[in-house]
Symmetry: C2
Subunit: 338 residues, 2 copies
Amino acid sequence: MRRHYATIKDIAYALSISVSTVSRALRDTHDVNADTRKMVLEMAAKLNYKPNFNATGLVKNSTHNLAVILPAITNYYFSTVFTGIQEVAYSNGYNLILYVTNDDAAREENIVRNLSFSSLDGLLVSVSSKADASHYFQEIIDDGVPVVFFDRVVENIRTSKVMQDDYNGAYEATVHLIRNGYRKIAHITGPAGLTLTEARLQGYLDALQRHKLAVRKKWIIHSGFSQQSGEEDARQLWKLNDKPDAVFAVNDRKGIGAIISFKQLAVQVGKEIGIIGFTNDPMSSIISPSLSTIAEPAFEIGQRSCQLLLNHIRKKHFIPEEVILPGRLIVRESSRRS
Amino acid sequence: MRRHYATIKDIAYALSISVSTVSRALRDTHDVNADTRKMVLEMAAKLNYKPNFNATGLVKNSTHNLAVILPAITNYYFSTVFTGIQEVAYSNGYNLILYVTNDDAAREENIVRNLSFSSLDGLLVSVSSKADASHYFQEIIDDGVPVVFFDRVVENIRTSKVMQDDYNGAYEATVHLIRNGYRKIAHITGPAGLTLTEARLQGYLDALQRHKLAVRKKWIIHSGFSQQSGEEDARQLWKLNDKPDAVFAVNDRKGIGAIISFKQLAVQVGKEIGIIGFTNDPMSSIISPSLSTIAEPAFEIGQRSCQLLLNHIRKKHFIPEEVILPGRLIVRESSRRS
DNA sequence: AAATTCACCGAGAACGTTCTCGATTCCTTA
DNA sequence: TAAGGAATCGAGAACGTTCTCGGTGAATTT
């Protein structure tokens, strides 16, 4: 069994002083004699004292724990966001409890409903794509738990949100294809209903309209976010009588899937078909032809989300903020007709 | 400020019964009347009662929290291991607190020394490659904290460990190159001193000796684990007068780096130079020519590690176990001379 | 009918902290 | 020289649970 760690009482007993004094000496510098403080600190080190976070959490009603809920972690975007979150959490002395939903709505709900908010100071969430998540997230926000959404946010909930500029990124991606001479541009995207999906779709549509290009329903395919979905979508597009000459993929994984399918179909990527993705996953520069994309500021999204959550936690009445970070066009081989 | 959640006392007061009874009703089914139990459960739901884990943790000296310490998370291998860990943690009702060291020894030590073991039931660690980690891990193990190492383990510490079969994987990879006609086989690997590095190096060396092939010191390069290191190592190898005709990379990222460099040098990968990696990172099938590799059972390593840790936590006197899982050769274009 | 057992429940201590309220000593000031 | 103030510390309640111990009344046994 676990050995018992030394407590504040043990220190007090060893020095024949009160627990109050030890407690004070261990935290504040005021209201305690410098010598006493030194004594306490030395004895604490000697006894290998480690504060019991359950006890402090109980009385202060605040542990330094933040929960992070992600659809997946085996994925460039989310793991990079997490790294950003962790960077500011670490430098502020917060711990991160990570939950992965595997993009499963039921699991997400189960996780949220079983969270112990007594040992959690706040919550960072990117929702599962299958979830109509409004109800159980609204409940915990009503309970007063600070929540920040990022990337895949829930629209009708009033709390802080951090996103990339999906609309303008999509617009820019589409315009880039148009400028490179592509005219029949398809869009393979994620599940309908998500803010992210809708915003990118709208950016794509507006770019087409602005340039007076045709919008074909058959050229817009909703499916999953995976590489495999991208492969399937591309094959489906190529079965059409009226084939597109370019594809804007909602993310790089789908874009890569499309490249793979078109290579298998012996379609020359870049010439016969232009492709652009969204994310700037390292894979997009590894694949050949390399994939043009809109780089997302994933790391910064993590940092800003966590910073926002900490502000939220620290201030009593925090007004929700929405942060929208710009993407950046990266041109590679998959969209160059030259 | 946070609204106050209902406590066990509130339930007791609302029902005019004692807290003891409420506590019993909420947990055990024995020693409490079925009707009372039902009453309590209903009132708990009505008041939106959520157990306070700080309080239970304080009295039971066991929260259901496990800490996971990883060198990185933006990486196929570690994120997959984490997913495996999380899978068994989730189904056993444990939460995971994730710390990422960025492969920085000082940060790793800082994290470990500041862990609150009072709110942690155990620890899963893959050590930083720069760390001589023995001392501070030994300390917490002496304190009785259950620890399981995986992948990058610390050799001289007696506790449970889960690894892939690095030696045999490396042996098999090297033999595969030999069977495909490569004779001058280099090895680009990670920092010396790590068990993982040493085991793979030894497998490589033994395979060469067994087949009576030359071992050249210049063909063995120790550097980091990154793709960039792989690129640099490849360029360095190609500057030699006595150039190798194949490269066994310690992991796929370095293998991919090597492929990229050789492509830049206009060296035909597969023909002029054979390359094999280790991991089966999805990138290895994306890159062209695709990278042969030894597939690691990353997900299973996570599962087994967590299962072992739970056993360790549950049993008083648990004898440390070492689990070694086999890899699997995957042949792709980078090592086929055909 | 007395004795024994059983089912169920309550009182109160304990876990390791923090925090409020006073108490004590010593120094300063009029 | 008395009064006021500052510096320092201690007692004890509180946080929300669990757990041990014992008590009550009803059911069962002899």
